[in-house]
Symmetry: C2
Subunit: 217 residues, 2 copies
DNA sequence: AGGGAGAGTTGAACATGTTCAAAAAGGGTG
DNA sequence: CACCCTTTTTGAACATGTTCAACTCTCCCT
């Protein structure tokens, strides 16, 4: 069938591209090289992916899906916010691992607001929804103060984005420092959530949430 | 004198570039267009600036200097951490204002770790030192718990980087929402610093600082 | 079978950032 | 002034992302 063949070609180009990203890095993987390696013409590659950035978006999608799968498995045995948080974040870093060498180029094409790839934008809405869903799962089954519960998954996703940024800059072998950061930050976040019940702390958190709401509108 | 003439040419190219960035945006300002407008050859532009990114770095330097000047003036009458923080951050946003339309392209060239322009990297060490110095000034003359004092300026600078990221994505007219965020977040940070003295909160903050130290090494 | 519409493919062409070898200009020294 | 070394200038050349008009293929309708 036609649709199948077309999809196969598309998949071939994509897989070739991702494999070359991993083996040669982002800059060295030119569109011409991808096309040549996949055995199609340059124009064909562009027929399926409107830009090189689109290939990065696909990479992002795949990594989120992989994170979701890994997190779901790891969350199975984990109880308590800190441990569940660690599970989700480490799963994300595991999924991103092979692409660390060109993480810089990754965020360069991902962060510009007008980029179709940016994680806060329209094109990645679906991937973002899946990513925040992971943190919904993290929160499930833990005791969170009511006034904070609805907002927490999104806040955790934001924190995760920050960690990914740290990861991109992390030059220690195997991004060891990022792992240390995750293991250290997760318990702190857990304690912070607990503290947010205290009468001295609660108003502060409530105002922060209100500010977040005001600024998002 | 020779040095003077060379410096004048360099300055001419730079001023032309920054003016064109403001008037036409980043993408439309090609190196050829800069050279033509400045009345030099393409090669000459590259003689003075090894890449287009370098021009962005100069822009960053200039904006930090302008922020420093504006902040110093505004800090003169401001007392208390929240107000002083507002002064410094608003000065920064004022300096960046004209470049908002291409803020996305700005961070695209600035954030990649291997980029010579990235604000955490080597090339911008001087500009970063000046930027953290601004937040040293902010902290001066306010009452900060001893165990937090040394780290606070750098933390504030980091928070400021986060706000700039928000600003880049802010599509409200004149980035109104970013201003609201700043005005709302500054008092919260002030109260958070106060709270950090409490016996229930202090250990948490201390552990966070310890984690930061561990992860920077 | 014929033909036409749509899907898929192709490579040349274009704009742009960057490099580089060669030329020109300057400036000091004999 | 002649010579040489350094600084500055130049534009052609290159690689790459992207566009596009033309071409081929497939399959359905009559």
């Amino acid at each position: 069938m036609d649709t199948t063949k077309s999809a196969a070609t598309r998949a071939l180009v994509l897989e070739t591209a991702l494999a070359m990203f991993r083996s040669r890095g982002y800059a060295k993987t030119t569109m011409r090289a991808i096309a040549a390696e996949a055995g199609v013409s340059l124009g064909s590659a562009y027929y399926y992916f409107e830009s090189k950035d689109q290939l990065v978006l696909e990479l992002y999608r795949e990594s989120v899906a992989e994170q979701h799968a890994g997190a779901t498995a790891a969350l199975d045995g984990a109880t308590g916010l800190p441990d569940r948080l660690k599970a989700a974040i480490h799963a994300g870093l595991d999924a991103l691992g092979p692409y660390h060498p060109f993480g810089g180029a990754f965020i360069a094409s991902a962060l510009p607001p007008q980029s179709s790839v940016n994680p806060f934008g329209e094109a990645s809405r679906q991937a973002r929804a899946e990513a925040t869903a992971i943190f919904e799962d993290v929160v499930q089954g833990t005791k969170i103060p009511q006034f904070l519960r609805a907002q927490l998954p999104e806040l955790l996703w934001l924190a995760y984005m920050g960690i990914v940024l740290f990861w991109v800059y992390d030059r220690s072998e195997n991004q060891r420092r990022t792992r240390i950061l995750v293991d250290g930050a997760a318990p702190l976040i857990g304690r912070l959530v607990s503290l947010s019940r205290l009468p001295v702390v609660k108003p502060l958190v409530e105002e922060a949430l209100a500010l977040k709401a005001r600024v998002q509108a």
